[in-house]
Symmetry: C2
Subunit: 447 residues, 2 copies
């Protein structure tokens, strides 16, 4: 492909030509003290005239605006990449179970934003089929793009909208629901739906991707296939997250929605069950259940939608030097609940105790979780824990801080009575509290 | 042992006798709706007359005050525990290297507080020798009990005090320093000392215990032996944390102070190197180095003490529903720095961007880290990251949020110039930034 065909023109075209650079060559760019090295890619139609597109070695595309101060040089001559496959027309097999895919955004179908060079989510029904034609052999798919946001822009209000949409399709009698979601806050949404969708009769599967689907290294295909398989075929009637189980393309893991967390910024196997084993492994050709403790699929069970969340709840992580006035500030602003991400078994610095005490006295529910993430709150062991318990702090058991936050929002939407809030927070509602911690749930250290 | 010999008397003695309960019997107690089951233990001298001591199945001792409303019943007859060993007199071997042990408190030498029934730290020099007589065969020990606090009460001011004390002993020419510390905030202190003690000539080892040393299941002995061994014999001249490497009593791991985190509330192997491999394994009879990338011991190197920390720095974890006014509140209060524990590669909800922008415009340094913990910030990939970078948010690379917090406190004590703050935050000063993430540093999931 010639530079002109690839969309390069004007001054930029001259700069590239002068250096003997062609499309798919490996080049090096130094701009504002940052060095970028990668393969020069064709430009999309809407990109700025001064912008080049570079595929970095980590698989990400970046757009870099070239000015007279930017250094740019050829590293090695390249060869053309494989041409993209043409879109596959969708075959619908009427004998397969029906699965609805609810789109909310995220990397799983994102594309490079050629204005800033960054990735922008852009999901359509058509996209999904083009990415993974195999899907049409697993289920009859129905698409519903509910919204298209970065997952960091997910809010409690949007959890409610997702829950209501799921309920609509459960009512319609689909075999399973898949929700495509950005990975950043997928754990929070999974917890929220676990509480909002009581007595679920079918599987509700959240799925995302760590690399966008227009990249050869994308995990989107296996994740989507596995998610649809779980939704269509699995016996699990819970809210789960389905994501890569290791870095290869061999299997995905099915994580309980209240016990899962994104633990790595970029790896395919970023999602981990914490204080719980995953429910199942999904290979391309089969599902392997890892436990018998899960709610079974039963199309006759009646879903109870309880999709309200009290947004007057905040999460505060403690540390040496935390300002207790942040707690006072929240109490003064009329917040109803605070989840503390304390240290160890559930501790907080002595000098913030007066603020915690005052919060509880003013009717604010305060729940203790641990920034350790693994393990269980036990406030009977050390004097500080005993002091906090006496004040009325509610121990978060083995709940993730993020799950305790979502649960407290859900509980406070039902009741503001602190005794009842305590009772509900200490009751296992959606698998968020395990009576005993499973030893295998703490990953071994490889040394 | 008879009940009277074990310190039980008066009304409580009668209650126990009436139920046929003797010392070391398994009993059940129901109080205020809470059920406790465990083995009745002898009472220490100072305990309240109405208080019983119960060893729970998890190895912890609790004290429970028995009132007329408390239900108490025999579950099973027990047998006497093994008698405690008498204190061993200390032998000092002049041929061994000198190691100073600086006490700051924590479980490693804690005892049951017989007023509340909870555990209370109580460390003396004598205690340590009684716990682990083997120590006197590894090093000539010198003791300095600097303070005796719960580790959740550690503060930046106390980091400074510890650093100054270490510097004093380095000046005196000891072979190594061991700091006994509560485990809850040991990671924070390890990071703080890593920055405060520049050009360290000898090892500085933080050590703690997950179970107090008066319990048979304590990890204190192996941890202390390993810590003193590293301080006396290892070639590493860095601030490190030495704690159990697995749940057995076979070896400890040596973690770099800026890369270590407590990841489990109660397990012996709670401490993990994140985005880095441990530096070494310590067995009872040998030290196995796991890397060659560390600063070597050199008694001629001149320590530079830079023990100032700016306390006007806060850590804020983002989540769906976070109130951006918390950031405004910190800016209004005159804070100098904020570390965001964002999502994924370094993102934050769109609606808090105006508050972040305003913070930076008012001269507040804002650093982005990831609540994933593993992996690396990369704000060039998605539009939200690019937007935050443009505002001037400083990417925290592969630093732990806790380490980034401590580092920002340290950097802001040197300079308030945002350009210089950025330069220092992006410079690897004490092993806190790895140029490349080591694949082995993300633990595999056992399924």
């Amino acid at each position: 492909m010639r530079l002109e065909e690839a969309g390069y023109a004007g001054k930029l075209l001259k700069v590239l030509r002068d250096r003997g650079i062609e499309v798919y060559d490996r080049i090096r760019v130094v701009k504002n003290g940052f060095l970028y090295e990668g393969v020069l890619m064709p430009k999309p139609e809407l990109s700025h005239p001064s912008c080049i597109i570079l595929k970095l070695d980590n698989g990400y595309n970046v757009g870099i605006s070239i000015t007279s101060e930017t250094k740019i040089e050829l590293v090695a001559k390249g060869r053309p990449a494989k041409p993209e496959l043409p879109p596959v027309p969708l075959k619908i097999r009427e004998d397969l179970p029906e699965v609805v895919i609810i789109g909310t955004g995220g990397t799983i179908a994102s594309r490079v934003d050629y204005k800033t060079g960054a990735v922008y989510p852009a999901l359509t029904a058509r996209d999904l089929y083009n990415i993974v034609p195999e899907l049409s052999d697993i289920a009859r798919l129905k698409m519903d793009v509910l919204f298209n946001i970065f997952s960091e822009d997910m809010t409690p209000k949007r959890w409610e909208a997702i829950a209501r949409t799921v309920a609509k399709y459960v009512e319609e009698g689909v075999a399973g629901v898949v929700i495509t979601h950005g990975t950043d806050t997928m754990g929070y949404t999974a917890a929220a739906l676990s509480f909002a969708l009581q007595d679920l009769p079918i599987p509700v599967v959240l799925v995302g991707a760590q690399r966008s689907s227009d990249r050869p290294s994308s995990d989107a295909a296996l994740n989507l296939i596995s998610a649809v398989k779980i939704a269509a075929q699995s016996p699990i009637a819970e809210v789960v997250v389905v994501m890569h189980g290791e870095t290869g393309d061999t299997y995905c893991l099915v994580h309980r929605g209240t016990k899962v967390r994104k633990c790595h910024t970029s790896r395919r196997d970023a999602f981990r069950s914490i204080n719980a084993r995953p429910l199942a492994k999904v290979y391309k050709d089969r599902i392997v259940m890892l436990t018998s403790s899960y709610r079974r699929r039963d199309p006759n069970r009646q879903l109870k939608l309880e999709a309200k969340f009290d947004e007057k709840v905040q999460l505060i992580k403690t540390f040496p030097g935390i300002d207790p006035e942040i707690i006072d500030f929240l109490v003064d602003k009329g917040y109803h609940g605070i989840v503390l991400e304390g240290t160890g078994l559930g501790h907080a610095p002595e000098y913030i105790l007066p603020s915690i005490k005052r919060a509880i006295e003013e009717g604010v529910a305060v729940v203790m979780t641990s920034q350790c993430l693994w393990g269980r709150i036990n406030m009977n062991v050390y004097r500080r824990g005993v002091e906090l318990l006496k004040m009325g702090v509610i121990p978060g058991e083995d709940m993730l801080p993020e799950t305790a936050l979502v649960k407290l929002m859900w509980v406070l939407a039902h009741t503001r009575d602190l005794k009842e809030v305590r009772r509900l927070m200490l009751t296992n509602i959606a698998g968020e509290i395990n009576p005993r911690t499973e030893p295998l749930s703490y990953p071994p250290m490889e040394v």
